[in-house]
Subunit: 233 residues, 2 copies
DNA sequence: CAGGAGTCTCTTGCATGGCAGAGACCGTAG
DNA sequence: CTACGGTCTCTGCCATGCAAGAGACTCCTG
């Protein structure tokens, strides 16, 4: 599955393009729905169209861009329905990760999760949302990697890329009281994990994801009452 | 995510190559681990290397082949660990599908599931394993499509392709008594779905997948005692 | 006979050019 | 003014050629 995010150690030129473009898309640097021209990108990177083309093709199978034959390549903009679906998957996978991690017993990731929680407590206490957002990212990351299932991890990263999740987290944390609530839920999950109660850990983790989704959707621009010409999809 | 299996309606030549090669790989027509030469395939399909190359690249991101730079392209052979991981994912996704389907209420897929079960009963009764294997395939398919979550479906199909699952099913059904047991478990799942008991449906479905996995692994050639030159990884 | 270095061929990686479809744009007719 | 037809340019699609890395093979040497 190659890597869904990390290693750009591959020196091949198309790998570079893939990594770079993926970064731009999930960071929102290029606007969703925007067109991507093979030729323009090739010139920008100073390479030929072939590797660019192959890079875009891979990004398509990752769900980040859409290639309309003979028309052009565009950054995908998840529809509302897709976002719902993606969150259902997120809930599923993170729940499973919690269960798997609980089953593994005492592994280093658990220690790091507890350290993470301590830092997070501090960040919440001084209302440092920026830092807390980072810690949340690390928390979920530790959970996934701690599950020790490469397939799960690969699919998870793919989904998060499609959601451009890193962009969204901050939105949800701007809901008043959400950071504190979120932090508490994290504590509960880790507690259940160290108790090796996989069933409960999964259940609570799922609930946490649902709560996080609600908080996030509440802060989005197009909830359900779009003023005249707002909604595009 | 394009389609992970179905529509070859796309007239583009590389789409044809992708569909064809995917079919060959999951059917086992080309031996796992075997090399795939761009040039050879290009000649066989009567096209240039470019579309073949792009097709292989997509199959790589689907996890069906592995491209070793400057060396060659090879059909991936899931290691024992990967098989375990894939089954964990299968359990997860099918369990979730059962839950989601239960939550949806009365939808056509449920009717078709019940029809499927009737046919399956008959097939089991007359010990028609061939037909039962087909029905099992349809059963799981209905479950997934019935969940009405495209992301889930896409990821599921990708995983099943990596497992070359269609090849494996028959193995598991050769375990004595397995078809009957399997059929019973299917009945129970559907029953729970029509009762809209999503929690139980998910749980039972998961257990069913685990049982199916055990039956399957028991019938595999390389359990733990590989005769001299059999095991390759 | 064994080991190592060199070469030689095979593979993919990348660049480039021609082709065809899709859509925008403009001119014209009603 | 509006609607239609043609063209024109832009896009990705595919073919081909060259280059470079990896691995096998051979030949030379100890």
């Amino acid at each position: 599955m190659t890597e869904a995010t990390g290693g750009s150690a591959n020196s091949s030129i198309q790998a570079t393009v893939i990594a770079e473009m993926r970064g731009r898309i999930i960071s929102g640097e290029i606007e969703p729905g925007g067109p991507l021209s093979e030729l323009a990108l090739a010139e920008e990177f100073g390479v030929s169209r072939t590797p660019v083309r192959e890079a875009l093709k891979q990004l398509q199978t990752e769900g980040l861009v859409e290639i309309r034959p003979r028309v052009g390549t565009f950054v995908t903009t998840p529809s509302r329905r897709e976002i719902t679906e993606l969150f259902e998957m997120k809930e599923l996978l993170e729940g499973a990760a919690a269960r798997l991690l609980a089953q593994r017993g005492r592994v280093p990731e658990i220690d790091r999760l507890q350290e993470n929680l301590e830092e997070a407590d501090a960040a919440v206490a001084r209302d440092d949302r920026e830092h807390y957002a980072e810690l949340v990212g690390e928390f979920h990351d530790l959970l996934i990697t701690g599950a020790d299932n490469n397939k799960l991890e690969a699919h998870y990263r793919m989904l998060m890329n499609q959601l451009a999740y890193s962009r969204l987290v901050k939105t949800s944390l701007n809901q008043p009281g959400r950071p504190l609530q979120s932090d508490r839920e994290h504590h509960l999950v880790v507690e259940l994990i160290v108790e090796k109660d996989g069933d409960s850990a999964e259940q609570v983790m799922r609930e946490h994801v649902r709560a996080s989704r609600r908080a996030l959707m509440a802060g989005l621009p197009t909830p359900g009452s779009p003023p005249p010409g707002t909604a595009r999809d």
